[in-house]
């Protein structure tokens, strides 16, 4: 029931959009597909969705090869493209019912399912309004409902969070966690990395059409990364850090530590190290106001990979 891709290549003329991608997305987990613009995320998703034929490599979607059994693969796959349109003159409900019919969902099942999906993406009140009155974020949510209309085993989402307001992003996260909890295989591409930290279980990093790293988010959390410490007295904090021999830096390198509240950045090995630091600081009487990761777990991996490429 997983998504598997091995050695996938795909060129458009002279441009090698995907140039050797290996990827496994397991059921019950949300897998993030991360990479800079033009790294081949969308092309890879098109191959996985069965729209594009790879030049080389093998693809299995829930055990089905979209090359040899296109229909079988389409039946179990839900795909949401990064850019898509809707039929402006149809209402949100009609759009979803049309897709349910296109996926051969029986009529009575479809009606209930569509009503349920509209509620899930908070579009019930727009159900019978033409799609052209929907805002960009609402269309995005309609697109997500469309990808789910046939209850697919595998979900391929290309930048699903773009254009969504903060509330909808939270809803998206809850929805995807819920789908993964029900054993679905979810592959999400995004470059909003902080979001993926809380949503994804695994991450696949693409660069220039290749898989450059595969990491579980748990591992990313336990790797060395910068943390921000904030105290009511910046000077007191710095003095304590110097005493403990912990290297620190401030956002403005040449400014003297302030008397009042302020923060510094320290590099810590893991969350355990962060907990230890906090405990020691509090025990030593440093008025700590906060300790949090300065960058997201995936972001630091991503930036480290970017560093390596330069």
């Amino acid at each position: 029931m997983a998504i598997e891709a091995h050695g996938v290549r795909r060129s458009f003329g002279a441009v090698r959009a995907v140039d050797g991608v290996d990827l496994v997305a397991r059921p019950g987990r949300v897998t993030a597909l991360i990479g800079p613009n033009g790294s081949g995320k969308t092309t890879l998703l098109l191959v996985l969705a069965g729209l594009l034929r790879p030049d080389a490599g093998t693809v299995r979607v829930a055990g089905v090869d979209p090359l040899t059994d296109s229909r079988g693969a389409r039946a179990v796959t839900g795909w949401m493209p990064d850019v898509f349109g809707t039929w402006d003159s149809l209402t949100a409900r009609e759009v979803l019912l049309t897709f349910a019919a296109a996926y051969r969902v029986p009529d009575d099942v479809a009606r209930a399912r569509v009503a349920e999906l509209l509620a899930t993406v908070h579009l019930s009140e727009y159900a019978d309004r033409p799609a052209h009155v929907l805002s960009r974020g609402q269309k995005q949510r309609l697109g997500l409902a469309r990808a789910l209309v046939h209850d697919p085993q595998v979900l391929l989402l290309d930048e699903p969070a773009s254009g969504l307001d903060p509330r909808s992003r939270v809803d998206l996260r809850v929805l995807l966690r819920d789908l993964a909890g029900r054993g679905k295989t979810v592959l999400v591409s995004s470059h909003v990395l902080t979001e993926l930290d809380e949503m994804a279980d695994d991450a696949v990093f693409l660069s220039a059409g290749r898989t450059v790293a595969t990491q579980s988010v748990h591992d990313a959390v336990t790797t060395r990364r910068p943390w921000r410490v904030r105290a009511l007295s910046q000077r007191g904090l710095v003095a304590w850090l110097d005493e403990k021999g912990v290297p620190w830096r401030t956002d403005e390198p040449f400014a003297a530590p302030a008397e009042g509240a302020g923060g510094v950045v320290v590099d810590l090995e893991s969350e355990e190290a962060a907990a230890a630091l906090l405990r020691d600081a509090v025990a030593a009487g440093v008025p700590v106001a906060g300790l949090s990761p300065a960058t997201g777990a995936l972001e630091s991996t991503y930036l480290a990979l970017e560093e390596e490429r330069r």
Binding site: V47, G50, L51, R53, L67, L90, A102
Partner: protein
Amino acid sequence: MSAEAQPRIAPDEGGAPPPVRHTGSWSLTWAGLRTVAALELRQRVRSTRWVVSLVVFGVVVGVVTTLTFFVSRQMTADMAADPAIDATAGRTMFGFIVFFVLFLGLLVSPTLSATSINGDRANGTLATLQVTLLSPAEIVLGKLLASWLASLAFLAVSVPFIVWAFATGGTAFVGLLTTVLMLAVVLAVVCAIGLGFSAMTARSAGSAVLTYVAIAGLTVVSLIVFALSVPLVSGEERVQVRSEDWPGGEVEFDENGRPLEEIPCVLREEERYVTHTERTWWLLAVNPFVVVADALPPAAGSTQIADPMTGIRYGVRMARLGVEEPLNECWSQWQDWEAEEQARRDRADSLGAVWPWGLAFNLLLGAAGVALAVRRLTIPQGTLPRGTRVA
């Protein structure tokens, strides 16, 4: 996208994927067809000023029909109340209106289908349909059905006027039925051609232009090429000629100028200027106007070619007959011109109707358009048409 220089990798490295079997491309169900057609009609009917277009279309056809009616009445009134002339006037009006409706139909139909596939691709709605369980054939034929139904709406608006022209006389009822049917089929073909072009080209403006060029090619360019090709198939040739062998000496004539004694006819090979239209008649046959005209049964019991539809019918059939060897130049044996013409027309008729050829060719074009569109919509796609994205 980084453009680092990398060693060229052979495409088969890492195992070439197995050859793709497009087994499902042509699978077709009524449910799938209906889903696509309903979607298309809803989307396009609601988004365009559909009713307005239909009303304008109806008004234009109505005005032209009314004018034609008065003109043909004028013609009939000027002449004696001869039923043959009445019939001719009725058939003339019928033919004129049918051609006018066909002309407008050829103009209107491509606007619906010629932007259907590349328009959806540009709107980002095509790929989302392709990944559903709809087969490419269901998408293409559903779109064809929708645009054909829309064209038929225009035809339906003009049917009352065609019936009015029919009621002025001269046309058999079966002729009315076959004509409307033929118009409907020609509109379907035009829709299918438009659909093929819209699958082939990236921009909807391009496919619309190509479709109109194709229609112009069928209707006008073919006619021009036929006319221009006449000198190419004409020339002095040695042909079999049956000609009179005038005896030497005196021949006596009656008061009509006919020789009293029988002049023998002999077969000779002589040089004559002939035009082999039997080699180029198909240029006329592919014309939708010819198809419609040729399929209309001639007026019952009439030996005259007085109306344009019958004129076109026999014009093309005679062209198909072409040069009849031996050429008959035994003038003195001719009973009368009309009978000779009738005999020649009967011989042309005996070759069979022209419209099945034209219709078959047009249907083939339409089928090619559909097949091409299905091929283009089959996923997973290997090569993309230039300038297009998948999604």
